[in-house]
């Protein structure tokens, strides 16, 4: 017993030392005296004086004490909320387990943490006010309402709440939208909670306030927002399991008079984008020229570059509707399908393994072909997903069943489904309530319950698996040790009695009424054309990561549903918007904007498309496993296919559903590979474009034009011409080396590697 004690003490000392720095740092900050609302801060609003408790006669542990532990930071991850607690005292993270917390405070070490005989001597209070040494310092003062609440609770006998005590059901944060002038403008927030018994309460003083961008808007503990630099922020309040936020826009107080230029609006997208720009007092960039447009729209819609003929025809055309016509034509091309099949293959993790009972190579190909067929037939996206989620049968005979072969761990399947189709990352809630979103452990295990009855058995062919509804099987909630009834995300408990749970889920998920599905697809679609989602990253939808333009995302969602989930129609709207057709060159007011789509962004072309573009302009062919010579990289079925170029330029390996798999960062190997590597040099040689052009009796001058058009979709400028002519003049006898060098330089240039 003594040894155990010594070990325990040692362990405590060790953990104190180890975490000391961090804890001291965080607490030093949290513990700094709470500033009184600064007088003369220019706040027009008088902060409400929040009552922690109107009635200290009957203090509830769950309704009154738990919120204090939360707002004081006691149960945060760095403190007692950590997995092992702090210095022997553990609280559930952000209070996800109030019953456990009640036990730990009152019963775990009897008479230690609370002292019913002398309530003010309770260690819980002594520690919290810093009267005795506390790693976390003083959390609040003896005259604070927080202290009084806990004291009153102990004085009243530290009672456990009755089982039927009301629970908070919603949180409301006012004002919902803030327009401040910065620096210096202020606004007091106020938070109200509603309870299951119909009561309401001002919880401003019990809410934890956060900001998504304290460079634009800071928020105090008390909920006082102070404007700083021009920009946007999302000011959030967290109380109980709820997090709610208000969009905050800060404009400079001494900004020059802002005059909206009244630019044309092609469709609803422009209206909604411009409305946002006006709020931010940002001016959009001008419309991009035809040459820029044609290259951009080819890459984004088809993953290819325009041929010189396509380029010439488009630029020469005087048809006022030529952009619209081009978009329609491109959407109808098979390359459009290829591009989206690739994106969905990433979302579905289409990748073979050598593991027995997992996705075989053959199943991989069948799965990919099925997906391609769906897109080629333009099957509505919700119907595609419905087939995936509810699929049963052999992975060869009914390829969508491979959805359950790419992952066979129940919880992972549940997490992947939420992330891929709802854009929601549920992972946090596996172990504790999501700290920055609404998701609780109950939500997590209720969601997981849809996937607990998937049966899998080997088919005759060892490479095939049969997926079926096993009709039984549960996963237990880690706290209660019991299964949680299947419950839709943020929705009701599902009626799954006697049904295939996945079929029930598929109906809910893909219904036009589903709050996440269409929105997620619309957002993914938007991100393809702007390099960034309206919620970004697209698969991290949470309250604390709000959409940059919620009205726009709402409208795109409504349209997608109205189009019966026809992606092509939404793509058409996006490409025809003036917003998509804006120039990438910025003006003084929008240079720093990266969220409001006031100008086009310069984006590196993703790995597969870049390789395809190099093949296209050099007229050379690639060979990938399982595909015919000359197939394009976007057509690769198996995420495991090896290719140095693609790996170096950061293509997704399809090992996870995460959108972060596609990497766009530059590195040394990329630069070396383009400069010296096989790809550019070999392709210039094997395609023989220069030779062909020379053989066709084109002049060096014409060839220069042709190469520029192929690679950049523009003619060389006169300045460029002069420089190149000088180099050509140096080797007038044989222009081929110089032209080859030019081709090489074009393929190495950022204008080629980036879309703009």
């Amino acid at each position: 017993m003594r040894d155990v004690d010594v070990m325990r003490v040692n362990k405590i000392i060790a953990s104190v030392l180890a975490l000391g720095l961090l804890v001291a740092f965080i607490f030093a900050w949290l513990g700094s005296p709470r500033r009184a609302l600064a007088a003369g801060s220019g706040s027009p609003s008088t902060p409400t004086v929040p009552t922690v408790l109107k009635d200290l006669d009957r203090v509830s542990f769950k309704l009154d004490v738990m919120p204090v532990l939360m707002v004081a930071g006691c149960n945060s991850g760095a403190c007692h909320g950590s997995a092992r607690g702090q210095d022997g005292f553990h609280l559930s993270l952000f209070g996800f387990d109030p019953d456990g917390d009640y036990y730990r405070i009152t019963r775990e070490i009897p008479n230690r943490r609370i002292n019913l005989a002398q309530p003010t001597e309770s260690l819980l209070l002594q520690k919290a006010i810093g009267a005795v040494p506390h790693g976390g310092g003083a959390r609040f003062k003896p005259d604070s309402p927080y202290y009084k609440t806990i004291l009153a609770w102990i004085e009243q006998g530290a009672k456990e709440d009755p089982a039927d005590i009301a629970t908070p059901v919603s949180l409301d944060l006012e004002p919902k939208e803030l327009h401040l002038k910065g620096p210096g403008g202020t606004q007091q927030m106020s938070a109200h909670a509603k309870y299951s018994d119909g009561t309401e309460r001002d919880v401003t003083n019990l809410a934890v306030f956060m900001t998504s961008n304290d460079n634009s808007a800071g928020v105090s503990h008390e909920g006082l927002v102070t404007a700083k630099n021009r920009g946007e922020a999302f000011v959030m309040a967290r109380f109980a399991t709820f997090t709610v936020g208000s969009q905050t826009i800060v404009v400079p107080k001494d900004a020059p008079t802002y005059v909206w230029p009244n630019v044309p609006e092609n469709n609803y997208i422009d209206k909604l984008v411009n409305a946002k720009l006006q709020k931010l007092q940002i001016l959009p960039s001008g419309l991009c020229d035809d040459a820029t447009f044609v290259r951009r729209v080819f890459i984004d819609v088809t993953g290819t570059l325009p041929t010189t003929k396509e380029f010439d025809d488009f630029v020469a055309s005087t048809d006022p509707k030529k952009r619209e016509k081009l978009v329609d034509e491109l959407i109808a091309r098979p390359e459009f399908v290829d591009l989206w099949v690739m994106k969905w293959a990433e979302l579905l993790k289409i990748r073979s393994t050598d593991q027995v009972n997992e996705m075989s190579y053959k199943a991989t190909l069948l799965y990919f072909d099925w997906l391609k067929d769906q897109f080629a037939k333009n099957v509505p996206i919700n119907q595609v997903v419905k087939q995936l989620i509810s699929s049963t049968g052999g992975t060869f005979k009914n390829p969508p069943t491979n959805y359950y072969q790419t992952e066979n761990e129940t919880l992972k399947v549940a997490e992947n489904t939420a992330q891929a189709f709802c854009g929601i990352r549920m992972q946090c809630a596996q172990c504790h309530n999501h700290p920055f979103d609404r998701w609780t452990q109950n939500d997590y295990y209720g969601w997981a319950s849809f996937f607990t009855q998937i049966g899998r058995k080997p088919a005759e062919d060892g490479r095939e698996t049969i997926v079926f509804n096993a009709g039984g099987g549960e996963v237990n909630h880690p706290l209660t040790g019991k299964p949680v009834p299947a419950k839709f995300l943020g929705g009701a408990v599902a009626d799954v009695k006697g049904k295939d749970r996945r079929a029930v889920l598929a109906d809910w998920l893909t219904s036009p009424d589903n709050p996440y599905f269409a929105r997620n697809i619309a957002n993914i679609c938007w991100a393809q054309f702007f390099g960034k989602g309206i919620v970004d990253p697209v698969d991290d939808v949470r309250i604390s990561n709000p959409p940059s333009n919620p009205q726009l995302l709402d409208e795109l969602t409504h349209r997608l549903i109205a189009y019966n989930f026809d992606l092509k129609k939404l793509v058409r709207d996006i490409c025809l918007s003036r917003t998509y057709q804006l120039d990438s060159v910025s003006n003084a007011s929008n240079a720093d904007d990266s969220r409001s789509f006031s100008h086009a962004s310069v984006r590196r072309i993703r790995a597969e498309v870049l390789l395809d573009c190099i093949s296209e302009v050099t007229e050379s062919k690639e060979k990938f496993r399982g595909l015919p010579l000359g197939a394009r990289a976007v057509q690769i079925a198996d995420g495991r296919t090896q290719n140095y170029f693609l790996r170096t330029f950061g293509r997704a390996t399809r090992e996870t559903v995460c959108s972060c798999e596609v990497k766009m960062e530059p590195n040394l190997s990329q630069a070396l590979h383009l400069l010296n590597g096989q790809t550019v040099e070999r392709k210039i040689q094997s395609g023989g474009v220069i030779k062909k052009l020379i053989a066709a009796k084109k002049t060096p001058d014409q060839i220069v034009d042709e190469l520029y058009e192929r690679c950049f979709s523009r003619k060389p400028t006169s300045q460029e011409k002069t420089k190149i002519d000088a180099m050509l003049a140096d080797s007038a006898k044989d222009p081929q080396p110089v032209l080859t060098d030019l081709f090489w330089a074009l393929l190495n240039s950022k204008e080629f590697i980036f879309t703009h």
């Binding site: 460079n215 967290r238 990497k663 960062e665 630069a671 070396l672 400069l675 040099e681 980036f754």
Partner: protein, 447 residues
Amino acid sequence: MSHDGCDWCNSPAHVRPGHSRREFLYVGLIGGLGLTLGNYFGLSSKALGEAKNYATKDGVAKAVIHIFLPGGIAAQESFDPKPYAPIEYRGSLGTVKTKLDGELFSETLPNLAKVADRMTIVRSMTHGEAAHERGTHNMFTGYRPSPAVQYPSFGSVVSHELGSQKNLPPYVCVPNVPNPYAGSGYLSSAYGPFSLGADPANGNFAVRDLTLPEGIDDKRFEKRKTMLEAVDDHFRKLEKSDALDAMDSFYQRAYSMISSKEAREAFNIKAEPEAIKEEYGKTTAGMRMLMCRRLVEAGVRFVSMTYGSWDHHTNVAAGVRGQTPQFDKALAALILDLERRGMLNSTMVMVTTEFGRSPKINKDAGRDHWPRVFSIALAGGGIKKGQIYGSTDATASEPNDNPLSVMDLATTMYNQVGITADKELIAPGGRPIEIVKDGKVVQELLA
């Protein structure tokens, strides 16, 4: 996965939500502002400046050669034989006396036995991860795997902290990036490894993409660069973006590497005298280790090398016996060669593996995964010469004394190159994460 005892649950990295890698993309390179939800967690952007930060010092070691033996080499058949254990534990291999009094290696390591007085053998390395990828993750990053954060590898951290010198990439993988954990993790991929892309043991070895394409000489390359300048000019004037600047900076680095004779020569293993090649052995292990030496000699900070395949679930004796001769000879030669060149004190050689193998021989005469305790070998760069650190019990099942954690190993290695492992690097979303969490410098390992 249970989170009991999992470090990342406690880690600030876990509790501070972040934004995408892409959002973060250029912050590390160019500077910028990460969004933060820091108020709650005591990290307003001002406080970010107060994240634990330590300047990189001049380390005792100027470079690290990390030799990784993938699959998990059996300690019993290498650095920690158990000749007095029952046959089903000790296996069928004999032992060899080392330079250290009373200390034995397995008979598979006769050459290393002779240089044991220059090394520290750690017999008490321990972690709890019995799956290859998880064990490998530990031994490449100093962290247990996290579902929320991708940690950078040792080499990427060194690259981030020490930077490039003499036109060479700071972090090189020989011959290729060995596993997904050898990458840059949450740091920008700018700090990722440069891999040779070819095996130095091959007769026609050439580093991928370093040499100019056939038919292109230096003069022609200069012309091409001029051409590229001309072609890029228009776009550069028109467009401003961090992404473009970052790409540019890598082109500049590529140019200097291509054009530096010294840098190119570092990879030219053909320039090595025949006698030296013979010392290392003209084998896979030999040529890779020789390449490692050339690279650190030329200025590379961190070289990561792999050799062999050690997952001996069946017939462990034959498996180890087949691969160790090359390894034994090459590593002994590397240590002596570094010593002869006066580089041993400034070059840390770290031989690791993802875990050890089970104490008892299984039914297939093999050994299964065993992360409870296993052996690693260290030499140079300020590591104590001639010691066995830690020991295992009679059957090599548990550490007997001085168990060495992954965190402590990593912290000690970083310390030797001048990096304080407690320093916080900034992950996406402005999250500060310690280079190593809760590790300590193990003084007993140091000279």
